[in-house]
């Protein structure tokens, strides 16, 4: 975003005609800028940058009373633990599994829905579909979990539907306590909440495609499918790749609310974010939790950089 403007200004620089401002005017100008930015900069430094050295907690046996600089350093002990303690290893594997499934299911879903929506003529129906499908995005995960609980109740509508389809003598299930149904449920919920919202950028990408391309294709005898294959998909490619890189970067650390909200006594599915919360914040094992968080950050960073690198090589699209 910055590089584009920067280049334009570099070109413009030689024709600068304005008188050189004297040092007082210069100071006054920057004084103004710094004064305005002061509150935001201070808050960013405190809440985003000040915690960063705290990641060193992962390399010591952190004692909350001794503080960061006086706790004993233990090197990679806790990082090793992440890969040796079965529960932590399980959490990493689960996070990987969930992330891969999320990419496979949640990423293409909005693209498909956007293609379907695009087939509709502009009008009341299209607007209603959009309005309704965007809405779940704005509900909190807690509310979504609450709604799900009552839908999946033993006497709830989903069980009614099951009985309707399988006959009245079918057994009502307790969906929420089935380990095997847990991951599919997470996927369905995340698609339900975000699919409509995700279509916005893709619909915008489709709208920006030059309509004359479709007319030309029609004249050449391309059918609906071929038009999408050769015009719509290439037209959406940039947006899709950029969204994919962002998704990959954010994916690994996310899903806390969802997994935390849906888990219960019968579900054994720790993911990194829930382990960091339960062992770190609730039980006070700061060092172990920080080590898990550190590994997570590293993986997320690697994922994002490599996705960016591959995208740059393959399609010349990248975010940096």
């Amino acid at each position: 975003m910055n590089s584009v403007t920067t280049r334009a200004e570099n070109v413009a620089r030689p024709v600068k005609l304005a008188a050189k401002p004297n040092w007082r005017r210069k100071l006054k100008k920057s004084y103004f800028a710094y004064l305005l930015m002061l509150p935001s900069i201070v808050l960013t430094l405190i809440f985003s940058y000040l915690p960063m050295p705290g990641i060193l907690v992962a390399f010591q046996d952190h004692n909350i009373f001794a503080g960061l600089w006086n706790s004993p350093w233990v090197g990679f002990k806790h990082i090793r633990e992440v890969f040796e303690v079965p529960m932590l290893r399980q959490a990493i594997l689960n996070t990987l599994l969930l992330s891969v499934l999320m990419i496979i299911v949640s990423f293409p879903a909005p693209i498909l829905l956007a293609l379907l929506m695009n087939e509709l003529k502009n009008g009341l129906f299209k607007r209603s579909v959009q309005t309704l499908s965007y809405m779940p995005h704005f509900l909190s995960w807690i509310a979504v979990v609450g709604l799900t609980y009552s839908l999946l109740d033993v006497d709830g509508p989903i069980n009614d539907l099951k009985l309707l389809l399988l006959g009245a003598d079918a057994e009502r299930s307790m969906f929420l306590s089935h380990q095997a149904l847990f991951v599919p449920m997470l996927l369905i919920l995340s698609v339900w909440k975000e699919v409509g919202w995700g279509t916005i950028v893709f619909l915008a990408a489709i709208t920006s495609i030059d309509p004359s391309l479709y007319e030309a294709a029609k004249i050449d005898g391309a059918n609906r499918f071929q038009q999408h294959r050769h015009i719509t998909f290439p037209g959406m490619k940039t947006t899709a790749v950029i969204m994919l890189i962002f998704t990959l970067g954010a994916l690994f650390g996310s899903n806390f609310e969802l997994v935390y909200g849906m888990q219960n006594a019968f579900i054994d599915f720790p993911v990194i974010s829930t382990v960091v919360f339960s062992s770190g914040i609730q039980q006070g094992n700061y060092s172990t939790a920080a080590a898990v968080g550190f590994v997570e950050g590293l993986v997320a960073f690697t994922l994002m950089i490599s996705a960016n690198f591959i995208a740059k090589k393959v399609s010349r699209i990248s975010i940096f």
């Binding site: 910055n2 509150p39 809440f47 960063m52 087939e119 509709l120 807690i142 009614d160 306590s177 914040i281």
Partner: protein
């Protein structure tokens, strides 16, 4: 065009409309179902007779809700939190965005500060370091722990910066000609012209802050000072693993808890968002696009 309307395309169109109607319905159904339960009698709701329409319509659950002081206490804390956060954030985002929207000639270190913000959005120390810093600062159990970390929303600042940059330079120049200083330009020219983007960012922030529950869950231990979503998290995710030994326990716990009251609480917690949504919808498409437009 008449020849185009073959049976095949008509059937495809009908299928398309049916599919999209189904998707829309599934977006709405859980909310309607919840609303119907909240208006039904507890007995019918427990027995699972309620689907779309309330059975034995009554307002009992809402009466109980109004008597629930803990619920209203946390509701009020959330309202206060959203109000204060959005008010302060409105001004400091605006103030941050103005210098960042200047040209590099006017503000040499612009890009340095831009990257300071963007970097903080992409990388962070993680949950534990954040938790330890908040503890060290003595913000545990303080109302401000719910507000301060949410004030600088980098995404919103970037939206405002991009909008400022799209305002014609000529306007800026002619104001300067007429003797307008930086303060005058920022507050009398840029701010009034940017109301659409400021409305967008404020509405987004209202939703984000209202729905946020982690800060309350991590840093506030007193039941009477948690925000609404944290309270909801406590009653929704109510199944305490230590109490449950068998499936029967789950059934027993579920039957004691009042389903209609729970539904009424869920609905009340979503209500502010649903009230904001129509306004939000007018803005968010253009809002998102504002952020992605390159100059």
């Amino acid at each position: 065009m008449v020849r185009n309307q073959t049976f095949g395309t008509k059937a495809a169109e009908a299928l398309l409309i049916a599919a999209l109607a189904l998707i829309s319905f599934s977006s709405l159904f859980p909310i309607i179902h919840n609303l119907a339960i909240s208006f039904s009698s507890p007995a019918k709701a427990m027995a699972g007779f309620v689907t779309v329409f309330p059975k034995e319509f009554n307002l009992e659950s809402y009466k109980k809700l109004f008597e629930d002081s803990v619920f209203f206490q946390s509701f009020w804390i959330s309202v206060k939190r959203v109000g204060i956060t959005c008010f302060i954030s409105f001004f400091i985002s605006l103030l941050m965005a103005y210098p960042l929207s200047r040209s590099r000639r006017e503000f040499k270190l612009r890009d340095v500060y831009m990257w300071l913000l963007i970097f903080s959005m992409m990388f962070n120390g993680g949950l534990i370091p954040f938790y330890l810093i908040i503890r060290q600062m003595g913000l545990m159990n303080s109302f401000w722990v719910l507000v301060l970390p949410m004030l600088v929303n980098v995404f919103n600042v970037i939206l405002i910066v991009n909008y400022f940059r799209s305002i014609p330079k000529e306007l800026d120049e002619s104001a300067a000609m007429d003797g307008a200083g930086p303060w005058y330009k920022a507050f009398r020219i840029y701010m009034p012209l940017s109301m659409p983007v400021l409305a967008t960012t404020t509405l987004f922030l209202i939703v984000t802050v209202w729905n946020e529950f982690m800060l309350g869950m991590m840093f506030i231990n007193h039941e009477d000072s948690i925000p609404l979503q944290t309270y909801m998290q406590q009653i929704v995710v109510r199944i305490d693993p230590t109490l449950i030994k068998s499936i029967e326990d789950v059934k027993r716990l579920a039957s004691v808890s009042d389903k209609t009251l729970g539904a009424a609480k869920i609905f009340a917690s979503m209500l502010p968002i649903m009230l904001v949504y129509p306004f939000l919808q007018r803005f968010f498409i253009s809002g998102i696009m504002l952020g992605s437009v390159k100059e």
